[in-house]
Subunit: 185 residues, 2 copies
C-alpha cells in the first residue's frame, strides 16, 4: 500500500454553531501539492440495538429536518464531549428516547457515516436485560417508539426499506451478534 495520507498545513474555523463546527484546512497531498478540505468536527455518537428477551427490538420514528422527512431509526445520540464514554451515552439515550433501561451493553461495532466531510464515528451497542422505565425526551425532541421483531427489522434494513445508514449498519451488526450468541449457546 502506498502512502495516501494528507497532512494539515493550516486550519480556519468557518462555523461555531449550536450543532455544527465546520473548518476549512489547507492540506499537503501525497504528491506534494496542496489542496483544501472542508469538514465538520463531530464529537461522535452512540447507537443502540435493544435486544428484548422475546425477540423484539425498539426503533424510534423521528422527523429529520435536513432531509425533511421521518425515519425509523435505532435509538442514538451524540456524545456531549469527545472523551465521554460511549457506553454511558448509549445508556442515557436509550432510556431518554425509548423509556427502556438495559442491564448490559455489548459493543458490536463502530463505523463512520460521512467520511467525505465529517469525522463522526458512531459506536454501536446491543442492549440486553431490558426493563421499561419512562421516556424522557429533551425539549424540542419528538420521538415515537416502535417495537417490532429484531428479525423483521434486519429484513427491512437488508431489503432497502429503512433509509438511514446508521440504522442499517447497526441492525446488520446486531444480526451478526445475535447469530454469534446463538452459535455459542
Amino acid at each position: 500500500m502506498s502512502n495516501l495520507a494528507e497532512s494539515q498545513l493550516s486550519s480556519e474555523q468557518l462555523v461555531d454553531g449550536v450543532l455544527l463546527r465546520a473548518f476549512r484546512d489547507e492540506v499537503r497531498l501525497p504528491d506534494g501539492n496542496t489542496s483544501v478540505r472542508e469538514w465538520i468536527d463531530h464529537p461522535g455518537a452512540s447507537a443502540i440495538v435493544p435486544v428484548l428477551d422475546d425477540g423484539r427490538t425498539l426503533l424510534v420514528r423521528q422527523f429529520r429536518y435536513p432531509p425533511r422527512r421521518t425515519f425509523l431509526e435505532v435509538p442514538a445520540g451524540k456524545l456531549d464531549e469527545p472523551d465521554e464514554d460511549p457506553v454511558e451515552v448509549a445508556a442515557r439515550e436509550l432510556e431518554e428516547e425509548t423509556g427502556w433501561r438495559a442491564e448490559r451493553f455489548e459493543k458490536i461495532g463502530a463505523a463512520h457515516p460521512c467520511i467525505g466531510y465529517s469525522n463522526e464515528i458512531i459506536h454501536v451497542f446491543a442492549a440486553h436485560g431490558l426493563q421499561p422505565t419512562e421516556q424522557d425526551l429533551a425539549e424540542g425532541e419528538f420521538v415515537e417508539v416502535v417495537d417490532l421483531a429484531l428479525d423483521e427489522a434486519v429484513r427491512r434494513a437488508r431489503a432497502g426499506e429503512l433509509n438511514d445508514m446508521k440504522t442499517i449498519t447497526a441492525l446488520v451488526y446486531a444480526a451478526a451478534h445475535v447469530n454469534e450468541q446463538a452459535d455459542a449457546a
Copy 2:
C-alpha cells in the same frame, strides 16, 4: 402516527465553500415552539458495487481527511448538480476511480448517511457487464483499486471490518440483489 414535522421559518447561509454549503434555519416544532437547525446542503451521490462475471467486486482505498485515515470503500462520487442523473454519476465515477466500464447499472437502493445534519442521499447501483478501461482520477485524488470476492466483501461489511457506512449499506444491498438474481435464475 402523529405529526412530527418541523417547518422552516427562516434560513441563513453560514458557509458557501468549495465543498460545504451550511445553513442555520429557524423552525416551527410540532408543539408550536421554535428551534434552530443547522444543516449541510448536499447535491446527493451515487455509489457502485461492481459485480464482475467471476464473482469479484472492486473496492477503492482512499485517505479521508475528516477522520484522518484510509478506508476501503465502494466507488462513489457526488452529483455535480442536484438534478444530474444518478446513473450517469455512477458510470462516470466507476470508470474514473476504478478504470472499469459497465454495460448495465441496476438501482438496488438509496439511503441517507447523515440525517442529523445533512440532506445527502446516496443512490446505490449494481454494475454488470464490466470491461477494463483506464483509471482517470481528478487532480488531487489518490485511489488504489482493490479487487476481492463479492462474498468476502459482504462478509467483511457484516463482520464490522469495513467502517464506512455507505460501503456497508451498498454491500448489504448488493448481497440481497445477487441473491434475488440467483433465486430468479
